[in-house]
């Protein structure tokens, strides 16, 4: 079903907006073509007979990689905040946000 893997210019514009990317008209055309080629490659996999093959969730054949619940040293706050564009009351100062987090 090659039709499943097409991508439209509107799709690219939508994803760009979600990623807060400002793309020119020429860039929209370019990325529609490039992303279409990437999806076309995935279509090659869809052409294979994969009945009975479980989906791969990770490239590494590992499970249960865990660490003990033991505290480790943190960064020094002065060092952390010096990297911030703006600081107030030992917190990162950011522009006001309309609405709450999703």
């Amino acid at each position: 079903m090659p039709g499943r893997y097409t991508i439209t210019r509107d799709d690219v514009a939508h994803v760009a907006e979600l990623a807060r990317l400002e793309l020119s008209e020429a860039e929209l055309d370019m990325f529609t073509e490039q992303l279409g080629a990437v999806l076309g490659h995935a279509a090659d996999v869809a052409a294979l007979d994969l009945a009975g093959v479980p989906p791969t969730s990770h490239a590494l054949a590992l499970t249960n990689v865990l660490r003990p619940d033991e505290p480790r040293p943190c960064l020094d706050r002065t060092e952390v905040l010096v990297a911030a564009p703006s600081v107030e009351d030992d917190r990162f100062r950011v522009p006001s946000i309309m609405g709450e987090a999703p």
Binding site: V15, L18, R20, S57, H58, A59, L60, L62, T63, N64, V65, L66, R67, P68, D69, E70, P71, R72, P73, C74, L75, R77, V80, L81, E88, D89, D90, R91, F92, R93, V94, P95, S96, I97, M98, G99, E100, A101, P102
Partner: protein, 494 residues
């Protein structure tokens, strides 16, 4: 509970999403301390600040607490994976939250409420918390603030999100569900259950419909519910708001709404984005968690008795101790509604072991339960350390009539603080049982002083017994035993 019914012909449908911060020593994916109330931005590292090149490593204890919650809720514990949920918000420095998506660790459970109703649990999955944003300047509220301040101490703290099925049908039931879930979370050791500190946060999905046979109506999600009281009020308000819209011929718009506790209403925040806009994809830096049967069993073995079982234990204790005083539907003496409330109180405060051990030391269960729920419960921290043998000794003196109820309360107050021998404390307070002769002469004197009241009592007006008992208590400064006074009054009446 203030909840009332919706107008006739309407039904509310509620599902709750509860976020529970896990009581681990460190965060979900890094070794920063998981502590509430520390100085801002002191418990942070490259992982929880989202600095480039940092890599998450999963906390074993967080996984095991999530499994404990799943076990307590009767869930199936499954192999699970982590996804990235992508969005931009300053409290989320990586610009994505690591959460479990289509393969959560716990699915298909249920929670039984004290009234016997059962609410389904769809899933209980692991995810990381965000940083804490304070809206500053302007009015101090979200709207009207001119900038925000972010503290990342909470960023990466482990959460379990527990999603109920839309099985809840009233504000009262919503509150009971949240209260029971909190008790279960505390009992598993996963959470301290402190809603006021945000360690348990509740969002409510509310819709209404005409009939249980109708499809689900359009729902609104209510946020900012910081107490069980807020939850009940907000659910009630929101369901009524939707009914009024629909009865006016308008429609409900799916949206997120913010509960304003002071104004007592919900306010629209923003239209809800499509779930696909989060562009979930598998977190490439974490591998699957696959609990085997041995691991699941080991975690289950660490679980103590859950609140429902602890309540049942006390109900059975009352019934078998032969002293229940309520209805007798099954032949045995069932606990009264007041006793069921007392049971809920002692279980909630963790005094149930005290009750069981004190009854085992030879005191009737109803008296132990009442004194535990009403008197000992005034200082639960001390009451949990109370020696059951000393408590039994004290209540034994009340049961035998050596001490009045008033005197028992005074002795208990001291016993809680100092411990020791209740008989010695009673003696030190001058609480000695009135000699029978003294009681007889006191009652006789008061009867002689109040001939009119005595005549009415003698003619069958039993309310006057309370009048005379009150006089005796006053005359003896509470030393008389109420039961002995009543017996003496009955004896004199003949």
């Amino acid at each position: 509970m203030a909840a009332t019914d919706l107008p006739a012909g309407w039904e509310m449908v509620v599902g709750l999403e509860v976020h529970c911060e896990l009581k681990t020593a460190t965060k979900l994916f890094c070794g920063c301390p998981n502590v509430f109330g520390d100085e801002p931005n002191t418990n942070v590292c490259p992982v929880c600040l989202g600095l480039p090149g940092s890599l998450p490593v999963l906390n074993q204890q967080a996984v095991e607490l999530a499994m404990a919650i799943g076990t307590a809720l009767g869930c199936e514990i499954r192999p699970s994976t982590f996804h990235r949920k992508n969005y931009f918000y300053p409290d989320m420095p990586k610009d994505y939250q690591i959460s479990q998506y289509d393969e959560p660790i716990n699915v298909d459970g249920h929670l039984e409420l004290p009234d016997g109703s059962v609410v389904g649990i769809v899933r209980a999955h692991l995810e990381e918390d965000t940083g804490k944003t304070t809206h500053a300047g302007g009015t101090g509220r979200i709207h009207g603030s001119d900038h925000s301040l972010v503290d990342y101490n909470r960023s990466g703290v482990p959460l379990v999100e527990i999603v109920s099925a839309p099985d809840i049908r009233s504000a009262t039931q919503a509150r009971a569900y949240a209260a029971e879930l909190r008790a279960v979370l505390v009992a598993t050791g996963a959470s301290d259950g402190r809603m006021e500190e945000g360690s348990m946060r509740v969002d409510a999905n509310v819709s209404v419909r005409r009939s249980p046979d109708d499809p689900l109506g359009t729902r609104c999600e209510i946020k900012n519910l910081n107490s069980l009281r807020s939850l009940a009020r907000a659910v009630e308000y929101e369901a009524r708001r939707q009914v009024e819209l629909l009865e006016a011929g308008e429609r409900v718009v799916q949206q997120t709404r913010h509960w304003d506790e002071d104004a007592g209403r919900t306010i629209a925040l923003r239209s809800k984005e499509e779930a696909t806009d989060y562009r979930y994809f598998l977190e490439p830096d974490l591998v699957p968690v696959v609990p085997d049967a041995q691991w699941v069993t080991a975690v289950a073995d660490t679980l103590g008795m859950l609140p429902a079982a602890r309540r049942r234990r006390l109900e059975e204790l009352l019934t078998t101790d032969g002293a229940g005083t309520g209805d007798t539907p099954g032949g045995g003496a069932a606990p009264t509604p007041a006793q069921l409330d007392q049971i809920a109180t002692v279980v909630d405060l963790g005094l149930d072991d005290l009750v069981v051990e004190t009854v085992a030391a030879g005191v009737a269960a109803p008296l132990v339960l009442a004194r535990s729920a009403n008197e000992a419960a005034t200082d639960p921290d001390l009451a949990r350390k109370l020696d059951p043998v000393a408590f039994a000794g004290l209540l034994g003196m009340e049961a035998s009539g050596s001490l009045s109820a008033t005197q028992v309360k005074a002795v208990l107050s001291e016993l809680l603080h100092t411990g020791g021998d209740p008989a010695a404390i009673a003696a030190s307070k001058g609480f000695e049982a009135m000699a029978e002769d003294d009681l007889v002469s006191t009652v006789a004197g008061l009867v002689a002083d109040h001939p009119d009241e005595w005549a009415r009592y003698r003619d069958g007006d039993d309310k006057l017994a309370g009048f005379f008992t009150g006089l005796v208590m006053k005359a003896t400064q509470g030393k008389a035993n109420g039961k002995a006074v009543a017996a003496e009054l009955r004896r004199l009446r003949g």
